[in-house]
Symmetry: C2
Subunit: 229 residues, 2 copies
DNA sequence: TCAAGGTAAATTGTCGACAGACGACAATCG
DNA sequence: CGATTGTCGTCTGTCGACAATTTACCTTGA
């Protein structure tokens, strides 16, 4: 059987339904069709999609644990709202995770395999910076960071990161303009790559720390002005 | 109306069922009645409890996102298994969180309110160290740490901590003996309190770092010997 | 004896239905 | 006119039932 060497077919997973619905809802939230605070009634969704409420309900619980929805007893799901304080604590957590992840990548000598990939990501980033769609830019940016966290080898870091990343994407759905000159953020990422390549654990930590602290400052203060308005 | 000044009744929450079941399952897992790898069939649980499968299913999903159960498509829930590597990554994450939490407690000047509470916790700890039940000792220990994380003021830190704490409790259900001389761990916690009271951010960080690193080393190595056996 | 295949039992995924809870609006009373 | 109470529609929490899938057991054949 050649199947043992390379799987010809993916095992077609027939669980789906609830996961399909979860993906669909996620897209709707991230794309802004569903805005923070909006009600997500399982009966309504079920009617629209032509399925029963059970899988919708499960999808809701899934997105609740992902932090995209919140549920009130006997009142159902609502798209999660965030204020600048939430966002700040989010970035503080992200800081902890990614700082150590970067250090771990260096410490465990996992650098060699990923430097090239990271450079590719930046190319994508520069490319997408010409795009109007902010959501794509954020996506590519998060992809870059995710690769580092994934390469750290700590599965739990990745789990937390993914959860934070989805929440960050939701926030960006609320922001219309790009913060910086196109391509600037992309170029800044080279500093991280250099730090990783240096082989110095502390340097990697410091680079990541700086990078995310700047982002934190930018995003949170921007969000705060949105609130007062 | 006197009601406006002081509420006469607590709002009685009638949500329950699925949450009740979740608590029940959690207890069963933490107490060791359900062991890692065991199957948790929703139909069986539902029959035993005399309820339909729906709330059991939800409880399962709840505990899945809490990290106590895992689910395979069309095969249901199983109590999560952990190897020493999982445990190590868990403690590494815990290290990141609590280190910063301790620093934050100092930085935000939240020390005053909690020092006394922390001392009380230690009294409880010394008390429980006479107890045979390891699970109680771990519980009180986690309570101490939780208080610090909670006082940090970063809600997300607390969220991650609670998730980790429940997983740690599951692991301890597999360990029979106490690591150290009774009361030693309790006394070690005074070092953390002193560091917090010192008002020096870095000192708090270092104390917490040391404390958890020791625990990490102890628990992981102990778990590793269990595996090879 | 053991591997392969087939059938039956058990379990999950999904559905439609019903009772209770909640929110909004109309009705009532001061 | 304002506040409280009653009513109604909608939605959630829960249930029992059915179809699809997995698991366990048993048969069969070499």
């Amino acid at each position: 059987m050649n199947r043992s060497t390379k799987p010809l077919f993916q095992p077609l997973t027939r669980d789906a339904l609830s996961q399909q619905i979860a993906r669909m809802l996620t897209d709707a939230i991230v794309s802004g069709q569903l805005r923070p605070g909006d009600r997500v009634a399982e009966s309504v969704i079920a009617r629209d999609l032509g399925v029963s409420r059970a899988p919708v309900r499960e999808a809701g619980r899934l997105l609740e644990s992902a932090g995209l929805l919140v549920s009130h007893a006997n009142r159902g799901f609502f798209v999660r709202t965030m204020d600048s304080e939430d966002l700040d604590s989010l970035y503080e957590l992200r800081l902890c995770i990614e700082r150590e992840a970067a250090a771990r990548v260096v410490r465990e000598a996992r650098v060699d395999g990923i430097i090239d990939k990271l450079r590719h990501q930046i190319d994508d980033m520069v490319e997408s910076s010409k795009d109007e769609q902010l959501i794509f830019q954020i996506g590519v940016d998060l992809q870059f960071h995710r690769l580092i966290v994934e390469s750290s080898g700590n599965a739990r870091f990745l789990g937390v990161f993914d959860k934070l990343a989805s929440e960050i994407q939701v926030c960006t759905a609320l922001i219309e303009r790009v913060f910086d000159e196109p391509g600037l953020v992309a170029r800044n990422h080279y500093l991280i790559i250099d730090a990783l390549a240096s082989g110095d654990e502390d340097e990697a930590r410091a680079a990541m720390d700086y990078h995310i602290s700047v982002a934190r400052e930018t995003v949170v203060s921007h969000f705060r002005t949105l609130e007062t308005a």
